[in-house]
């Protein structure tokens, strides 16, 4: 079984369902629109900010504010790509055609990740430039130190959150269950754990908290023990763990 055949097949699968188009376009739209809105608000409120806030003002990170919501659409995309195989029963047809389960899963992940990377990069660059345009005199330039890294990091972050969701969906098999766990986790629980001082030290090792460090150009005044790439590395470990878990269960379970 040639892997290129399976990659081509997975590409056909992904491009031939409507959910791909609406989840990915929603991710871009929400990220850019919300980023623009918060950039406008920040620009207007800048003079009312405390001295401390002005010193650590991070125009790049501000323009990425829409990603907290936009990532949810990426999660839906990742969950549906894998979970729909199970919810529709297609998985039995798919595994009859490609009985090598590792080839099947990793081809699917590779195709979806490549698409998520393309969409994530475009989203990240567009949201940066749109956001900076709205920030007026407080804007950052793409050539400023660390800014290009943060913008590329934004694309990588959206890709990794998608792949993480695919791993979780491969383990749980049900799209509803996967979304029911991932959506509140990334929208609420992770933020609460990261904000409450008692759980902060644990919360910052969660995939989104660690991974989103790469979106910052100005280092905030806290004692976070990792830098932008270290944070992305932690996120990468989570993604690897989810994929290994998904693969191990797919390999072991009856379809």
């Amino acid at each position: 079984m040639a892997a290129t055949q399976v990659l081509r097949s997975e590409w056909t699968k992904i491009r031939s369902v409507a959910s791909t188009v609406w989840t990915l376009s929603l991710a871009t739209l929400v990220t850019v629109a919300l980023g623009l809105l918060i950039s406008i608000v920040s620009n207007n409120e800048f003079d009312n900010m405390s001295r401390n806030d002005r010193l650590t003002f991070d125009p790049t990170f501000i323009s990425f504010a829409g990603m907290t919501l936009g990532q949810l659409a990426m999660i839906v995309f990742g969950v549906l790509v894998v979970g729909n195989e199970y919810s529709t029963g297609m998985i039995r047809t798919s595994l009859s055609a490609v009985p090598q389960r590792g080839t099947f899963l990793f081809s699917k992940v590779a195709v979806a990740a490549a698409l998520a990377l393309a969409v994530g990069m475009i989203t990240s660059f567009v949201t940066f430039f749109v956001g900076q345009a709205a920030l007026g005199t407080h804007r950052a330039s793409i050539s400023d130190p660390g800014v290009l890294r943060a913008v590329i990091g934004g694309g990588l972050y959206m890709t990794l959150i998608t792949v993480f969701s695919m791993g979780v969906a491969a383990m749980l098999r049900s799209p509803m269950l996967s979304l029911g766990i991932l959506m509140p986790f990334f929208f609420l629980i992770s933020n609460i754990l990261g904000a409450v001082s008692a759980t902060k030290k644990v919360g910052r090792y969660l995939p989104d908290q660690a991974g989103s460090r790469i979106l910052r150009v100005v280092t905030p005044l806290d004692d976070t023990p990792y830098g932008p790439w270290g944070g992305l590395g932690i996120m990468l470990l989570w993604v690897a763990a989810a994929l290994i878990g998904g693969y191990a269960l797919l390999k072991k379970r009856d379809a």
Partner: protein, 338 residues
């Protein structure tokens, strides 16, 4: 050719498939028969490598399924017509399957034409009727032009025209020298299509025989005779060396009897006959008797429900059971106790 050897599947304590050994041969339609819950679908899933056997082995042309390069070119299966993404068009559904096995794109149009779905090829599968979904599933099975085809309950829910189409398709495929393995819980359906029968009940092999042999063994033919002079007729028939079975309703039954001879004997002795009719027990009845022991979900009702009413009355003499099986008790002997 599909070879099963001691194939077993356990779910915890429950044994779904119990030590199945048989071979499905090319050039004929092999019917895979068993009541609901007998383990047919589980067996088929194991053949396709979807479920892992607890013990035993199944080989496709001598190889394990997951060792086949481009398996759709060896074996095509219709397990469940719903096993597809409803949001994908029929064409794209088949295209992604074709691509995964290196099958040229032109073949997709070919099989769509074969199953008569060309007109709706670009329509989403979720808008399809049951029959159209079944046809799309069959198109997927034919895609790789495989030597082996497997259909799980293909006529379920189809209209008469669809049923007719599938029957002819299976016969045509077998006549081309392919291996055709088709499951059903209806004996009457199998009698029309299958050349060979594999019968299972509660996961165990009950029969592995040619259709002709199964009919010969199981379709008991007899002559029913009723007469107001029953005792005298009995003596006459016994005197002529004819074995007679008395039934509760007062009729006499003569196994493999010739109505001409019985009528002539009665005339010779000036006996009045009210009935002289050749009878044939149905295959459905024979199948039910064979699997009676192993039916998992008996209808335990006081009065015979619709399911029971459909069963013809059981004759007092059970047919000769196929070789290798114990004589099964009478069907329905169980529910009366409940």
């Amino acid at each position: 050719m599909i070879e099963l050897e001691g194939l077993t599947k356990r779910y915890g304590e429950k044994v779904a498939v119990n030590n199945l050994t048989f071979t499905v041969r090319p050039g004929i339609v092999t019917g895979f028969l068993g009541p609901n819950g007998a383990g047919k679908s589980t067996t088929m899933r194991m053949m396709l490598g979807l479920d892992r056997p607890t013990a035993g082995d199944v080989r496709i042309d001598g190889q394990h399924y997951d060792r086949l390069k481009d398996p759709l070119k060896y074996i095509g299966a219709l397990l469940d017509a719903q096993a597809m993404h409803g949001g994908r068009s029929a064409f794209n559904h088949l295209l992604c399957l074709a691509q995964s096995n290196g099958i040229p794109r032109a073949r997709v149009d070919e099989v769509l034409d074969t199953v008569g779905l060309t007109a709706v090829a670009r329509k989403k599968a979720k808008g399809f009727s049951l029959g159209m979904g079944q046809r799309l599933g069959i198109a997927g099975a034919l895609l790789g032009d495989p030597r082996i085809l497997m259909f799980d309950e293909p006529v379920n829910g189809l209209d008469p025209e669809g049923i007719h189409w599938i029957r002819n398709l299976m016969k045509t495929l077998a006549s081309q020298g392919r291996t055709v393995f088709v499951s059903s819980h209806l004996m009457s359906e199998m009698a029309l299509t299958a050349d060979h029968l594999v019968v299972i009940g509660q996961g165990r092999l009950l029969a592995d025989t040619s259709m002709a042999e199964f009919i010969r063994r199981n379709s008991r033919s007899y002559v029913r005779v009723r007469s107001p002079q029953r005792e005298r007729l009995l003596d006459v028939l016994k005197g002529a060396g004819i074995t007679v079975v008395q039934t509760g309703s007062g009729a006499l039954e003569v196994d493999d009897g010739q109505p001409e001879r019985i009528g002539e004997l009665a005339a010779q002795h000036q006996l009045v006959l009210h009935e002289l009719s050749p009878q044939q027990a149905s295959l459905e009845e024979a199948f039910m008797r064979l699997t009676a022991e192993s039916v998992e979900y008996h209808a335990h009702t006081e009065a015979p429900g619709p399911g029971l009413a459909a069963v013809p009355p059981v004759s007092p003499v059970p047919p000769v059971p196929p070789a290798g099986t114990d004589p099964a008790p009478r069907w329905g002997g169980d529910w009366k106790k409940g």
